[in-house]
Amino acid sequence: MDNVYLVSVVKFVMYVAIVLISVILIGWLERRISAFMQNRTGPNRVGPFGLLQILIDVVKLLLKEDIVPKSANKRIHDLAPIISIAVALSTFAVVPFGNTIEMFGSEVKLMIADVNVGILYMLSITSLGVYGLTLAGWASNNKYSLLGGLRSSAQMISYELSMGLSIIGVLMVSGTLRLDQIVLHQTSYLGGWLPAWNIFLQPVAFITFAVAAFAETNRLPFDLPEAEPELVAGYHTEYTGLKFGLFMLAEYSNVITASAVIVTLFLGGWHLPYAEYLGLSPFGLSILQILTFCVKVALVILFFIVVRWTIPRFRYDQLMNLGWKVMLPVAIANVLVTGLVLLVI
């Protein structure tokens, strides 16, 4: 029993380290890409190519005064960023980032927690994230923050429906709630050559899930909760220092998790097509699969970033119309059509 705790703690520490390093990289990448797209230079002074800029920013935030407005609710004001970051860090636990690997004479599954209801865990934890934003907005006792918090909760619960419904199509195809089994199901080939990734089997579900993932992570074009021009940053207007930094950290780790989940559910996870014919040793193949997973996640993150700096923000009524009048019926229709096709075949 002790062993299980120890292994989990080690995995968790490694995981947090990886997330923090990726956040530094993604933050840098986003600022450089946005600068490039707006004909600016972007951070290029701290470290090689300005890579350490985010690290310095975190240190700066750490040394700033923690201001809690007089009229705010102190306890909830403190609690909200903790909820946000805890939720953002725990979602990744069930995502498999490789098949199995031979280490120290035993087979190790490359995921933090191998539970049999992986998808349900993921959905339930991501929906807890809304508490962080709503409580932050409410506790600040600021009109902008309150509006931001309300908007974010309404937006997140609206798109959660389409998200849940688009996953159902994947579940019907693969018939399991375990994320590692879903990936294994995608490792065969359709007609002998096309990898059986769910993006080919469930294209509509992929689109609705990706759109919902953008909305759930509050990224542009769905960043109405923080819409800078109208709500001056929305739910985190009254946050300073590292409490503000924790919200940013949570946003970036949510982007990482969302990309990882998109890759796992629709893009074949760690599966590199035709890699099994390369004749590599099992260990080499495992390493190659982990690298494949990282590259896929990085590409999806890049897509998130490019979309953020390309597409303008929706109006709030357009956002709600899209969620309830387009995404929801399309996702339901996808479930029905998938069922019909599966029965006919």
């Binding site: 968790f12 947090v16 309404a154």
Partner: protein, 118 residues
């Protein structure tokens, strides 16, 4: 069986501890020089007018109620989706009837104007 959930508890506890440590570290390392202006609510530099504890649009409440209705539907679909191949045609027809009833509900809400935001 329950042993597989230990890593999850470790991860959630670790996330909470990480958050608390960061918030406390900031309180400990940062300066503390409060002034009246600094501690007042931010309203674009103007004197704050009343508080934020006021009534807001009922539409947010409507969305929450509708969400609960449809989310229960989605949760109900999960076990059916996993066992879809075993349940076969009978399961598909049953669930189609259920979904059609809910679609009628969605259409009703739509016609009643609960989804309009202007």
């Amino acid at each position: 069986m329950l042993e597989t959930y230990i890593p999850i508890f470790v991860v959630i506890a670790g996330g909470i501890v990480f958050g608390i440590v960061m918030v406390k570290l900031n309180e400990w390392l940062g300066p503390r020089r409060p002034t009246d202006e600094k501690l007042s609510t931010y309203e674009s530099g103007m004197e704050p007018v009343r508080t934020a504890r006021e009534r807001f649009s009922v539409k947010f409440y409507m969305v929450a109620v509708l969400f609960i209705l449809f989310d229960i539907e989605v949760v109900f679909l999960y076990p059916w989706a996993v066992a879809f191949k075993e349940l076969g045609v009978a399961g598909y027809i049953t669930m189609t009837v259920f979904i059609v009833i809910l679609l009628i509900g969605l259409f009703y809400v739509w016609r009643k104007g609960a989804l309009e935001w202007d």
